[in-house]
């Protein structure tokens, strides 16, 4: 039950990766997709190495679909989905999962909400029975909703309110997206969470929790036909609503003003620097552009041999760490991050200027062919490494499909990475690493009185 906050600074632990042609030839599993009559999408990822399955249901709605003034409702509903249905009392599903030795959880992102269980393979049908049941049968009372809202407030206090770094991240996103709801935290703003109630949760539930809006992903020791039969038996009996729900989101106007957001807090002893640019996502980008941004992020800030690390940390010695990350998996225009932590005594202004110089020099000098080769090798190899984890594959397919990509897009991704030309990388850098499209964030200790 997490709010999957957008990566504040730095890449997520397991950045999404893809299977390459070579990976598939090397023996990757045959991944199959199909649709049930009621519109539910199904993906099957066979992995026969251990007698376990990962069962996930993804809904194509997330925090960016929260109605105005109701921030946090997607995430709050995700919590409430564990509260029982007409058929099953509160806690019964979790009890069954625990009793079967399974693991379960759920998470909410900007663009999706997902529920999963990991169990021994013979229990897949039982998981489907419960998960299908709560797609339509949720029962909520005020007695259940009120303490759970307190839990969410505690979650917010734990992850955001006590952490100035998290507070700065929220402020940077809010400044970057002036109109689009990616600027609102997934967990919601405190003053709006406090007002969320049973009626809000049920209205949101009835709007989005439909078979047409859901993606079932099953990874593990299963065969396609077995999954198809089980899915039809359990999910197939849910009545279709006709059309999938629409995601109506106000879009961001073209940004024209670079912004600086500074947070001073007495708890800060290590300053940090970040910059976040608005950039196209895998879904909104021109052909090849998202792949170019992926490679660009790796060249600029993917590990110790990257340009930012070498320049800021090794050569100039003004930062202790530095990196970059492209958040390509998003339905709408998304984010490209740069981040650094200064060495003691180095000012934010010094970092700002140094990073601007590095970017300008990169664009002027062009791409080092050896570095490009290494970046591609790494990105494509990650696809093979991903095959070692059914849970990671399930997440990758689910998140890609829920943000508007097709199975073919996912399959093609490594081939497209291999095809990225230096010119495309430079074009992407020139177009998108434009300071007018960015917010820079400074996290600093308390130095002076807040009120002059």
């Amino acid at each position: 039950m997490n709010s999957n906050q957008s990566p504040a600074i730095g890449p997520p632990a397991n950045a999404p990766v893809a299977l390459s042609e070579s990976a598939r030839m090397a023996g990757s599993p045959a991944i199959v997709d199909f649709r049930l009559d009621n519109g539910l999408s199904v993906v099957v990822i066979p992995d026969h190495r251990a007698p376990v399955v990962t069962h996930m249901v993804w809904y194509r709605n997330g925090s960016a679909d929260d109605p105005p003034g109701k921030s946090g409702i997607a995430h709050f509903l995700e919590h409430l989905m564990f509260k029982g249905t007409k058929a099953h009392r509160q806690g019964q599903f979790s009890d069954v999962v625990a009793e079967l030795g399974g693991q379960e959880n759920a998470f909410t992102g900007n663009d999706y909400t997902a529920y999963f269980q990991r169990v021994a393979k013979e229990h897949l049908g039982v998981m489907m029975e419960f998960e299908a049941d709560r797609m339509t049968g949720l029962v909520l009372t005020d007695e259940i909703v009120a303490p759970e809202r307190d839990v969410v407030m505690e979650e917010r206090r734990m992850h955001c309110d006590a952490d100035p770094g998290a507070q700065l991240n929220e402020a940077v996103q809010a400044a970057l997206f002036t109109h689009h709801p990616y600027g609102v935290p997934i967990i919601g703003w405190s003053h709006e969470i406090e007002g969320l109630n049973r009626a809000d949760a049920l209205a949101y539930y009835h709007r989005f929790y439909t078979p047409e809006n859901a993606i079932l992903v099953v990874a593990g020791d299963v065969e396609t036909e077995e999954v198809r039969a089980l899915a039809e038996a359990h999910y197939g009996k849910i009545k279709p609503r006709g059309e999938p729900p629409q995601r109506d989101r106000p879009q961001e106007p073209a940004p024209v003003a670079r912004r600086l957001v500074t947070l001073n807090d007495e708890k800060v002893e290590q300053p940090s620097w970040q910059r976040c640019y608005i950039a196209p996502s895998s879904r909104t980008a021109e052909p090849g552009e998202a792949e170019a941004l992926e490679v660009l992020a790796h060249l600029l800030g993917g590990g110790q041999t990257s340009l930012l690390y070498r320049s800021l940390v090794l050569d100039q010695r003004i930062a202790v760490v530095a990196g970059a990350h492209y958040m390509g998996t998003a339905l709408d225009e998304t984010r490209f991050f740069l981040y650094a932590m200064p060495n003691p005594g180095v000012t934010m202004e010094t970092l700002d200027a140094a990073i601007d110089r590095i970017l300008a020099k990169f664009i002027a000098d062009g791409v080092d062919p050896a570095a490009l080769e290494r970046a591609k090798t790494r990105l494509v190899a990650d696809a093979i490494y991903a095959q070692d984890s059914q849970a990671m594959l399930a997440r990758w397919y689910g998140s890609s499909l829920a943000t508007g990509l097709s199975m073919e897009d996912i399959r093609q991704w490594p081939t497209r990475i291999e095809a990225v030309e230096p010119a495309a990388i430079l074009a992407a850098a020139k177009k998108h690493l434009d300071r007018r499209k960015s917010v820079t964030g400074h996290l600093l200790p308390l130095e002076e009185p807040l009120v002059a």
């Binding site: 023996g27 990757s28 992995d47 026969h48 190495r49 251990a50 007698p51 376990v52 806690g91 009890d95 999962v97 625990a98 009793e99 079967l100 030795g101 399974g102 693991q103 379960e104 990991r118 169990v119 021994a120 393979k121 013979e122 049908g125 009120a146 303490p147 809202r149 307190d150 839990v151 969410v152 505690e154 979650e155 206090r157 734990m158 309110d161 006590a162 952490d163 770094g165 007495e266 708890k267 002893e269 290590q270 940090s272 041999t305 070498r310 940390v313 090794l314 202790v320 932590m341 060495n343 080769e373 290494r374 090798t377 790494r378 494509v380 990650d382 093979i384 490494y385 070692d388 849970a391």
Partner: protein, 427 residues
């Protein structure tokens, strides 16, 4: 659909081969050709508990420097060599061991083992990376200086293991890191990175003969043993008292714990089961989850588990709750612990807890790296591969009578060592 509910363990992991290389290095191997990669995990016993007096952080610093240049390759050259073949090599440090891992596509296994051989046998420990890693660790310490979770954990360990290496911060302090010099790291490496202290788990598309050859290339030339400091068993301190660290945040972050049973105590698995019943699992069905979160909305997370180090075993847990309700949360937790001590778990709790722990064991074996890691930990715990079966048999054998008896041993009078960060009201 009529397969048994309880699997002995993941199918791949039960096929452990114990190998001994031509040069006498031992390892556990699981052959698996489904994905063309290799995961190697290893650990040297000894770890931050071996930090020189007054220099906490030294072993962590050493671990962080082993992939920062070795043999003829300086730091950048080493990292580029890894990148060229997408080879992953990294090191980590825990209280009782210094660990490492390597992951590679099987087609690059020879280059990977050559780079790992250099890192393990000939780390350069150049002054520039030493200075940089010192700054990085220092930045990490400053970054978490006022993080409630880190602060509460640090405080809890220091008060629970006073004067013992386990009470010291494994990442050092802003005062200790500058004192750690190259000579300290070289000496520590000589004593820690030895064949005698080594345990290896290897999983992937490789047969026993090739695995043995690889292991000999990497590890056979290490010295037989080093000089490790004697670490005493750690007495547990701070019982029955609360230490509060004032921090201006809306929430109180709480850590609590008390001594528990040693790894080879015959009742150990029963103690694991009891900690699970109290506050374990994925957390959605434990006693504390029900009482603290579900019924009262006091916290987002609350959990307990047991930890066993070589010289200390303890039950510990944590939660975060708003300052006004910190006392209520602690009272609820204390009451549940005391109730378990007096009355033991219910039949239903015992039954469900056993089913969970037994049934979830295979989930620890679903990736090559996780299997390799498990193989190393089972060896370090002093068990043979039969533990993969024995572990679940021991859990299933716990009777209600055992559970009640062991609950008294583990939870006793219910008194805890507690640390709180925040501004708790009413304590």
């Amino acid at each position: 659909m009529n397969a048994p509910i309880v699997k002995p363990a993941a199918s791949r992991a039960v096929n452990v081969q114990q190998i001994e290389t031509p040069r006498g290095v031992k390892a556990w191997l699981v052959e698996d050709y489904a994905v063309p990669l290799l995961s190697l995990e290893f650990a040297f016993k000894g770890g931050s508990a071996q930090d020189p007096p007054g220099k906490p952080g030294a072993a962590t610093m050493l671990a962080a420097l082993l992939d920062e240049g070795a043999g003829p390759l300086d730091s950048q050259a080493f990292q580029q060599a890894l990148d060229e073949k997408a080879i992953e090599i990294s090191f980590n440090c825990d209280r009782d061991y210094l660990g490492g891992r390597m992951r590679t596509l099987i087609r690059n296994v020879e280059r990977a083992s050559e780079l790992l051989r250099l890192a393990v046998n000939a780390p350069r420990l150049d002054e520039a990376p030493i200075a940089r890693v010192r700054e990085q660790l220092s930045a990490g310490l400053r970054h978490e200086a006022n993080d409630p979770g880190s602060l509460a954990g640090r405080t809890w360990r220091a008060r629970s293991f006073p004067g013992h290496p386990y009470g010291a911060p494994p990442n050092g302090t802003l005062e200790s890191l500058p004192k750690i010099q190259r000579a300290d790291l070289v000496a520590l490496g000589r004593d820690l990175v030895t064949r005698g202290a080594l345990h290896i788990g290897i999983v992937g598309a490789i047969d026993a003969a090739r695995a043995a050859a690889l292991i000999d290339v990497v590890f056979a030339d290490l010295p037989a043993s080093g000089v490790l400091a004697d670490v005493a068993d750690a007495p547990f301190g701070g019982i029955g008292t609360i230490e509060t660290i004032d921090l201006d945040v809306p929430q109180s972050t709480i850590r609590f714990g008390r001594p528990s049973l040693a790894r080879h105590d015959p009742d150990y698995m029963a103690s694991v089961l009891l900690a699970h019943i109290l506050g374990g699992g994925t957390g959605l069905s434990s006693r504390l989850f029900r009482e603290v979160r579900e019924k009262r909305g006091l916290a987002y997370s609350v959990s307990t588990s047991v930890s066993t180090l070589d010289h200390a075993s303890f039950l510990h847990g944590g939660t975060s709750t708003k300052n006004e309700r910190a006392k209520e949360s602690l009272d609820v937790i204390a009451a549940e612990i005391l109730d378990l001590s007096r009355n033991g778990p219910t039949e239903e709790e015992l039954d469900k807890g056993k089913k969970y722990l037994v049934g979830s064991y295979p989930l620890r074996f679903d990736t090559s790296a996780k299997i390799a890691g498990q193989l190393v930990h089972i060896q370090m715990d002093g068990f043979g591969p039969e533990w993969l079966i024995e572990r679940n048999r021991l859990i299933q054998a716990v009777t209600m009578e055992d559970a009640r008896r062991v609950a008294k041993r583990v939870f006793g009078d219910g008194k805890m060592s507690v640390s709180i960060v925040g501004r708790p009201v009413g304590l």
